[in-house]
């Protein structure tokens, strides 16, 4: 076993000493959170070109109201009140009476939109106030080139419905003064739980935001995925190179195949733990600086290290075994996807799990050993109280599975590492587990 540690130490040094590792540590989280950062950086990059919209109002209820409302909006929302910079497009509505040949009128307006003379046109059905059985007469249609994604359509929804409700209430005899109360919207705030502090005082609950509920589980999940990519995934290519460059045969002159593989896995684990320590140290400094200590679920960290260790052992063995079966980069490419799949599936289903961490789906998925390290960590990082037994049972399951992975990986490794010319297929690898 001492020899396995020597191999692990070499593997560790060979990885962490490279510039690639340092650059990877910096770049990987940027890539991981790339879309979030991009959205944040680009949120001010909106199209500020004014939008001209024609309204064909068959109901005679809406056009004037919307024109007034758009003017009010243009005065408040188009220019930054402090620096005078234009931050949003102005909406200009024009009323157009319905023509006798409505189809020709619609076509003409569409042509104007295509010619960029107009942004969109809004057609309001005659029966919107009291919708009857005729569906066509109660519709409100917003025609444009890309209206499904447009902010203007979103803006229109509230004033249009407010107007209709107010008109209906007025017909029902409700006084105008009461209507403001009727339309007052009160938000349901998300709050944490009431607790008792160290001095025994009952501590009031704090409000929680959607972002806060998401951020800790997401960071934990991404950290786990990142460390898997950093510690386990490179083992596939590393072992394949040692095989193809005949280094493996030299090593096997000194070390048993199983110890060779274990050494590689331990080396990968050490790399992953180093990366995790770097991120957690930097993260701790950052949260202390911004006064966010109480937002970080510190009790989850021991679980993170436990699950990370099991994850890298499990995935590292699979990667090393797959690498031993490969003869070239193409083989490695073909095998990397199926071997990576157990780490990809938790990423695919993470949002349903974050949203409902106690659902039967989340519970069962997180108890399937290949998914346990990522999904269980994700669940226990959410503010919801996951039953205490579940992380333990999950850890036990993944421990058994990791032992199996090491055993099966060792058997594949022993056959594969000296065998060349046999293209690796999953069925072949399964056979090798039996053959050993």
């Amino acid at each position: 076993m001492l020899k396995a540690l020597k191999i692990a130490w070499r593997e560790y040094k060979a990885t962490v000493r490279t510039k690639g590792f340092i650059i990877g540590l910096i770049i990987a989280p940027i890539f991981m959170s790339g879309s979030g950062i991009a959205i944040k950086l680009l949120e001010d990059q909106v199209d500020t070109n004014d939008k001209r919209v024609v309204i064909i109002d068959h109901s005679n209820l809406m056009a004037d109201y919307l024109i007034d409302l758009a003017e009010q909006r243009n005065q408040q929302a188009v220019y930054d009140q402090e620096n005078g910079k234009k931050i949003s497009p102005a909406y200009y509505f024009e009323k157009q009476a319905p023509a006798t040949d409505i189809a020709a009128q619609r076509l003409a307006l569409s042509d104007q939109i295509r010619a960029k003379e107009l942004f969109a046109f809004l057609e309001i059905g005659p029966d919107v106030l009291h919708p009857g059985d005729d569906r066509e007469r109660r519709r409100i249609k917003f025609h444009g080139e890309n209206t499904a994604m447009d902010d203007l359509r979103g803006w229109l929804r509230r004033p249009v419905n407010d107007r209709l409700r107010r008109a209906r209430l007025a017909e029902a005899g409700v006084k105008e003064a009461l209507m403001n109360d009727l339309f007052l919207w009160i938000n349901v705030e998300s709050m944490g739980l009431i607790s008792v502090d160290e001095s025994g005082e009952v501590k009031d609950a704090e409000s929680t935001s959607e972002l806060e509920s998401l951020i800790a589980p997401l960071i934990m999940m991404m950290l786990m995925f990142l460390m898997t990519m950093m510690g386990a995934t490179p083992l596939l290519n590393s072992v394949m190179e040692e095989k193809t460059q005949r280094i493996a045969e030299v090593i096997l002159g000194s070390v048993k195949p199983f110890h060779f593989m274990i050494g590689k896995v331990i080396g990968g684990l050490a790399v992953a733990l180093t990366g995790a320590m770097v991120y957690i140290t930097l993260g701790t400094i950052a949260v202390n600086r911004f006064g966010l200590e109480d937002k970080i679920p510190l009790d989850v960290l021991p679980w993170m290290f436990l699950f990370l260790t099991l994850q890298i052992t499990m995935m590292g063995s699979a990667m090393a075994a797959a690498g031993s079966a490969c003869n070239d980069a193409k083989d490695a490419q073909n095998l990397s996807f199926p071997v990576m799949l157990p780490s990809m599936i938790p990423i695919f289903i993470m949002f349903p799990v974050i949203k409902e961490p106690l659902s039967a789906f989340s519970t069962w998925m997180s108890l399937i050993p290949p998914f346990t390290p990522m999904l269980m960590l994700l669940r226990i990082s959410t503010p919801m109280a996951v039953p205490v037994w579940q992380p333990w049972v999950g850890a036990l399951g993944v421990l058994f599975f990791a032992v199996f992975s090491v055993w099966a990986g060792g058997r594949i490794f022993r056959v594969g590492i000296l065998l060349s010319g046999t293209p690796p297929k999953l069925s072949t690898l399964v056979k090798w587990i039996g053959r050993g």
Binding site: K6, Q245, I247, E249, V250, L252, G253, S254, K256, L418
Partner: protein, 303 residues
Amino acid sequence: MNTVEIEQVSKSFGKVIAVNELSLNVPNGSIYGFIGPNGSGKTTTLRMIMNIYYPDNGMIRVLGKQVSGAASDRIGYLPEERGLYKNMKVREMLRFYGDLKNGQNIPAQVDYWLERLDLTNWADKKVQTLSKGMSQKVQFIATVVAKPELLILDEPFSGLDPVNMDVLKDAILEMQQAGTTVIFSTHDMAVAEKMCDFIFMIFKGQKVLDGTLTAIQDKYGSDTIRIRTADGRSVLSNLPGIDKINDFGRQQELRLRSGADTQAVLAEIMQRTSVEKFETVQPSLHDIFVRIAGPEAEEATHA
């Protein structure tokens, strides 16, 4: 006492029998040459001695212990295809290989061998900067740095220039004199003849030769004429009593048919050309190899 004892060992890969019921004893302190055409089972045998492959049947005892699942630290192994970490520095990598063998005083040993093989200036360079010959010498150091009692070298001289070949040959002989047993495989019959105390030939997984060079040659008798003439190979066709001619350019070897008269052959040649050299000798190892392995071996020895 034998360093290696192989008894009735077989190894198959699927339907291919790589080694078939092989028995062999390698005495302590000897140099044992493994010869045979490509794919005949040499490397498989060496890997089984190293316990990299497990035999299907039979028993292998190395340095007094039955091989059972552990690569021995007392054996140095130089595989046929060299395996070095290209991104590591030479000295660092050699220390790593030495440590893997649990060798004693590895840093000093590494420095000694680097000096001995004239590689000191390359000690802190990355392996990828070395020439092929230098890489081979580095690989050799990796094999011997932990002072093995048994040295297994698979094609140690392939690709080396004569100077480096001599350097390596001297190092091997020096280790033998210090008591190390050496097994090496080679396609170079001249090297095998000159260096080996014993020669073992394997062909299609079967042992076909095993013994000292003299004992092997004695089996074949003096059935070979080594000749040099004024007109070379061109005048030697259709000679009576000759089965085969091996042409070496300035010299030819003629294999006598059983019962043929040497004097009659000489008389016939003298009628055709002037003879500069004529001697009756035992067949060379090359010739014996070719006789056993036929066209496959011709290919292998000229590879």
